[in-house]
């Protein structure tokens, strides 16, 4: 039995991913900030996959609550074999550029909240010497762009954190996979110009699940973002600071 905690379960990618896990017989605890929305997603996964998924609520920015939350979720599942970190928000990038409160909120939602929760879950997995952690990051973390560098820096930091954790947990047989998402058709890209090469959330979930099954370490979703970001990283800083995308 695969007992999996999905954090940020109401995102369309998390929903689709939850269904993949459930269809393979995983037992799920689906957590999101809003309890009613989390319950609806759990009911949906349950009805479609013919399972019983659990749901609950958590707040990524309320660090003090995390320990009890992770214990509670693990107890409800009767153990914990994996954690999928799907939460994150683009936030209001315009105000984050001038308002430190907004900037820090974006960092907490995307990075520090995840660090807190992953550390707690990792402790659990490390003790039992098995399990996995999937961290959904973004190609926005590969290079700071003038338009979304607050969000990008959080996702970049998250990737670095996951990278180190992967090394540390390798000895205990706990697998850490980093996903670098390109543009997916979610509310982050809806209505934004220049959201090119966008894929459906269900497609992204398929690719993530396939990579998880292959125990990939770092996966770009879809794969061609590895090439795109490789090219973007090579642009000299003096040039890059003038490009407007």
């Amino acid at each position: 039995m695969n007992r999996v905690l999905i954090l940020g379960a109401t995102s369309p990618i998390a929903r689709a991913l939850a269904l993949r896990f459930a269809s393979d017989g995983a037992q799920l605890y689906l957590a999101a900030r809003n309890a009613d929305e989390a319950r609806r997603v759990a009911e949906d996964v349950s009805a479609r996959a013919g399972v019983t998924a659990l749901s609950g609520t958590f707040d990524a920015s309320d660090f003090a609550s995390h320990d009890e939350f992770v214990r509670h979720a693990a107890a409800a599942l009767g153990g914990l074999d994996g954690v999928v970190v799907c939460f994150g928000t683009l936030g209001d990038e315009d105000s984050a550029q001038t308002d430190p409160g907004e900037a820090l909120a974006t960092i907490h939602q995307n990075f520090t909240g995840a660090v807190s929760l992953i550390t707690l879950a990792a402790r659990h997995l490390e003790q039992q010497r098995s399990g996995f952690i999937i961290v959904i990051g973004s190609v926005a973390g590969e290079r700071g762009r003038k338009k979304n560098y607050v969000y990008g820096s959080a996702k970049g930091a998250l990737a670095t954190f996951a990278q180190g954790l992967r090394g540390r947990l390798a000895a205990s047989g706990v697998h850490v996979m980093t996903v670098k998402l390109g543009t997916v058709d979610t509310r982050m890209t809806w209505g934004r110009e220049g959201a090119l090469l966008t894929i459906a959330p269900a497609k992204a979930a398929d690719l993530i699940y396939a990579a998880y099954r292959k125990r990939a370490e770092v996966v770009y979703v879809p794969w061609f973002w590895r090439l795109i970001m490789g090219a973007i990283r090579m642009i000299p800083e003096s040039r890059f600071k003038r490009v407007s995308f």
């Binding site: 109401t10 809003n34 609806r40 949906d44 009805a47 936030g91 209505g191």
Partner: protein
């Protein structure tokens, strides 16, 4: 720290069309992932709003030119299912296709389905859609026990035949103008197999087709006729009836009975739709071929659910074959006493006009209760018209014929009817308006269709 209040999500400025790709309109489109976001969109003190599901209404029902559209496709969560009763509770953007994928392997099928499975349940209630079993089982909404409606104030109201019944009957067939259908309970139909036991019946003309419908009425739950609308004179209305019932296990041949609920089969003769382009020549050739291959005598056949219910879904984007200008599907219904004469009159006019539409469908209806519901007892005819010069004027002449015989035209397919014709065809409009204005006093929910037809005036 982060703010927890839900703000109105970003809209996307988009060019939208219905399934007929006519007309086109530009709107700010919102696509909430969560109910609180929908509520923020609904209650934003802003311009007119209309809900949109899968965009399968043919005309301008889910358009709101230069105003706001809320795309509900992400609010499609299934909430509970009880196999003992077949009762399914789900959000409104769940599609018929999803119901089949999830529940047919468990022995349940949607109680009613239109000719495409890519429609949402919310849209199906709002248009009060019918299927091939209307004469027996009425519309999809007849199998909905209740729904939750988000009205203009943002409040969510439970509507059923007992509770808020005026709003229930104004919303069933109410084209989304009373509010946003959020969630509903639907009674799924238990089936023993994913196959239908039925017949293809050849009918030489209108009289033979009507006679065949009346004859098979009691025997078959599902029936539809494909009309060759280019045949004339004594062959006017020659058609092929496709009729059937869900097959019981003992009706299936052994090879199918082994896996009776498989949703993947492709076994039966499809109504052939394979054509390079649509002009009057290819349409006539198509209809002649279609009729010829079904010339054999009627015989019992096992159909798979896909080819029986959705012969056109296998061509995902079939509207595009009509070209860039799009098409209008004209669907009308006549009361029983006028059905034969009405059919003859309209088919003759279409034949004369040579506006060649290859798709003509004939179906017998039963009664319907929604204040603006399209079905009424009698016969309904549906025909596609590619947008060409003079086509709109031609359809106006069909309106006159239909109205004269006490018939009406289907709003979910309409893109061009006049407000005067609409008023004359829908005599319960006054009662509908009363319910609409009590739920939406400021007329916040409106659409290109409602403005064109002046539905609230």
């Amino acid at each position: 720290m982060t703010t927890n209040t839900i703000s109105v999500p970003n809209p996307r400025r988009a060019l939208l069309a219905g399934w007929g790709r006519y007309p086109l309109s530009e709107s700010d489109v919102y696509r909430p992932d969560r109910i609180a976001e929908l509520q923020a969109v609904v209650t934003a003190n802003s311009t007119s709003l209309i809900a949109r599901g899968a965009g399968r209404a043919y005309g301008d029902a889910a358009l709101n030119d230069q105003n706001r559209v809320v795309d509900l496709t992400r609010l499609n969560r299934m909430l509970s299912f009880d196999p003992a009763t077949g009762l399914l509770r789900c959000e409104a953007a769940v599609t018929i296709a999803e119901l089949i994928d999830v529940f047919l392997p468990r022995g349940f099928f949607p109680p009613v389905t239109p000719g495409t499975r890519f429609v949402t349940l919310g849209g199906s209630v709002a248009a009060d859609v019918h299927g091939k079993n209307h004469h027996r089982d009425s519309s999809l909404a007849s199998h909905v026990t209740w729904f939750d409606l988000m009205i203009a104030s943002g409040e969510v109201i439970r509507c059923s035949r007992e509770e808020n019944s005026a709003l229930f009957w104004a919303t069933v067939g109410g084209m989304g103008l009373t509010g946003v259908i959020l969630e509903l309970e639907l009674r799924m139909r238990h089936v023993e197999s994913a196959y239908l036991d039925g017949e293809l019946i050849r009918a030489g003309n209108v009289d033979a087709a009507i006679e065949a419908f009346e004859r098979i009425d009691a025997q078959y739950g599902y029936s539809v006729a494909w009309i060759d609308c280019n045949s004339t004179k004594s062959a006017l209305g020659r058609s092929i009836l496709n009729v059937g019932n869900f097959a019981t296990l003992d009706q299936l041949p052994p090879n199918l009975a082994q896996n009776p609920l498989s949703t993947m089969p492709k076994l039966s003769p499809r109504v052939p739709f394979n054509f390079p382009a649509v002009n009057s020549l290819t349409v006539r050739a198509f209809n002649a071929v279609n009729y010829a291959i079904h010339r054999e005598k009627a015989a019992h056949t096992i159909f798979d659910w896909d080819s029986f219910f959705y012969p056109l879904d296998s061509i995902r984007n079939w509207p595009r074959i009509y070209g860039k200008r799009g098409f209008v599907q004209y669907q009308c219904v006549w009361p029983p006493a006028e059905s034969r004469a009405g059919l003859v009159e309209v088919l003759e006019a279409i034949t004369r006009s040579r506006r060649g539409s290859f798709l003509a469908v004939l179906k017998k209806f039963g009664a319907q209760d929604g204040l603006l519901s399209f079905p009424m007892p009698g016969y309904t005819l549906a025909i596609d018209f590619p947008v060409t010069d003079g086509m709109l004027e031609f359809l106006d002449t069909l309106d006159v014929m239909v109205l004269k015989r006490g018939g009406r035209v289907y709003l979910a397919k309409d893109a061009r009817m006049s407000p005067e014709t609409f008023r004359a065809m829908y005599p319960n409009l006054g009662n509908w308006q009363a319910a609409k204005s009590s739920a939406d006093p400021e007329n916040r929910f409106s659409s290109s269709l409602s403005r064109r037809l002046r539905m609230t005036e």
